[in-house]
Symmetry: C2
C-alpha cells in the first residue's frame, strides 16, 4: 500500500456538485481524472463530525468504500475568534438552503454585536481527505488568518469572502485579484500540503 496518487489515475470527488470538477483537477495539477460521487450515484453521508478534518475524512471514507476507488473530500469554512470559532463547520448552513451568504454575513455581524467584543480576528480553514477503499486515509488542513470588516466589500469570490481581509493585505477576499486569492487561500494551502504528501 503506497500512499501515493499515481498520475493518470481516476479520483472520486465526494461532492454532488459537478461544477467542482475543473477546479479540483486544476488544484491537483491536471494529472488526474476527477469524477464526482454524484455522477456515480453514491449517496451523500451525514456530516456528523465536529471538525473540518473529521467531516472531510468521513466523506472521503464513505465515497472510497462505496465506489471501490480512491476518493477525495473537502470541508471548509470561516471561524470567528470572538464567536468561539462559529460559524465553523456550520458556515454553509448559516447561509440556508438558498445559499444566501449576504444573510449569513449579516448574522456574523449581529452575533459580534451581541457578544460586544472588538476582536475581529477570524480564519478560513480547509480540510482535505484522500481515502483508499478499505485502506488508509490522509488528512491535511490549510488555514489563512485575517480579520473581519463590515459592511461586505467586493463581488469576487464567494461565501464569506467579502467580509474577510487576510493578514498582510488591505482588501477583502471579495476584492482581491482571484489569482492572488487562489495563491494564498486556505484551500490553496491545503492542496499544497496534500500534493507534498501524496505526489512524487
Amino acid at each position: 500500500m503506497k500512499l501515493k496518487l499515481i498520475k493518470g489515475m481516476r479520483i472520486v470527488a465526494a461532492t454532488h456538485n459537478p461544477g467542482k470538477v475543473p477546479e479540483i483537477e486544476a488544484l491537483l495539477g491536471g494529472h488526474y481524472e476527477v469524477v464526482t460521487a454524484g455522477a456515480l450515484n453514491l449517496p451523500e453521508p451525514d456530516e456528523t463530525e465536529s471538525t473540518f478534518a473529521g467531516n472531510a475524512l468521513l466523506k472521503a471514507r464513505h465515497a472510497a468504500d462505496r465506489s471501490g476507488e480512491v476518493a477525495l473530500a473537502d470541508d471548509s469554512g470561516l471561524s470567528v475568534a470572538a464567536l468561539g470559532g462559529a460559524p465553523g463547520i456550520f458556515s454553509a448552513r448559516w447561509a440556508g438552503p438558498d445559499k444566501d451568504f449576504a444573510m449569513a454575513m449579516g448574522k456574523v455581524e449581529e452575533r459580534l454585536e451581541e457578544v460586544g467584543s472588538d476582536d475581529r480576528r477570524a480564519w478560513f480553514s480547509s480540510a482535505l481527505a484522500v481515502a483508499w477503499p478499505d485502506g488508509p486515509a490522509v488528512v491535511v488542513e490549510g488555514r489563512v488568518e485575517g480579520c473581519l470588516t463590515f459592511p461586505p466589500r467586493g463581488d469576487r469570490g464567494f461565501g464569506y469572502d467579502p467580509i474577510f481581509i487576510p493578514d498582510g493585505y488591505e482588501q477583502t477576499f471579495g476584492e482581491l485579484d482571484p489569482k492572488l486569492k487562489d495563491s494564498i487561500s486556505h484551500r490553496a494551502r491545503a492542496f499544497e500540503k496534500l500534493k507534498a504528501a501524496l505526489i512524487d
Copy 2:
C-alpha cells in the same frame, strides 16, 4: 514531507495511561521510542467526534500540534448490529468511571432484550491516527466481525471480550489464547494497515 515513520524516532502516544507504552512499542515492531502525552503534561482533548476514526484523528492532531512531534492515537470499541452500532464510540463510557465492564456487558444484554431482536452480530473496531505537527495525518481502521453470547465467558482480555465470539471461532475473546486473539484482533489489523502504509 515523507509520510513515513523513520526507525528510531520518538512518537508521542496520545494517552495518559503509561501502561500502554510497552504494548504500542511492541505493536510498532520495537523500532520506536514511545512517550505518552501524559508524561509530556499535554492536556487531554474532548473526544467530540461521532466516529472512531474521527476521535483518533482529533487526539493525534491535538498531541502532535502541542508537542511538536509525531503523535499516534487510537480509538476503539464494540458495535452491536441490533443496537444500531451502540455502544460504539461510547464503549468505554458505558463502563463508567470505575471501568465496570461487567455492568457494561449487562447493559448490552438488557438493551438487546428491550429491542427484542435475535440478531447477535457485532464487531470490534480500532482506529489509529498518526499526525505530523502542522502537517498531514494518516488514519486507518481495523475491524473484526463476530457475534455476542451471554452470559460472559472467560477471564482473559478486557472490556467486552467475554461476550464476543469472532467469526470462525467458538470461544470468546475472553477465552481465546491471548496470542491468537492478538493476531486476529481489530487492533492487530489496524496496526498491520498502519505499518504497511507508514513503515518501509
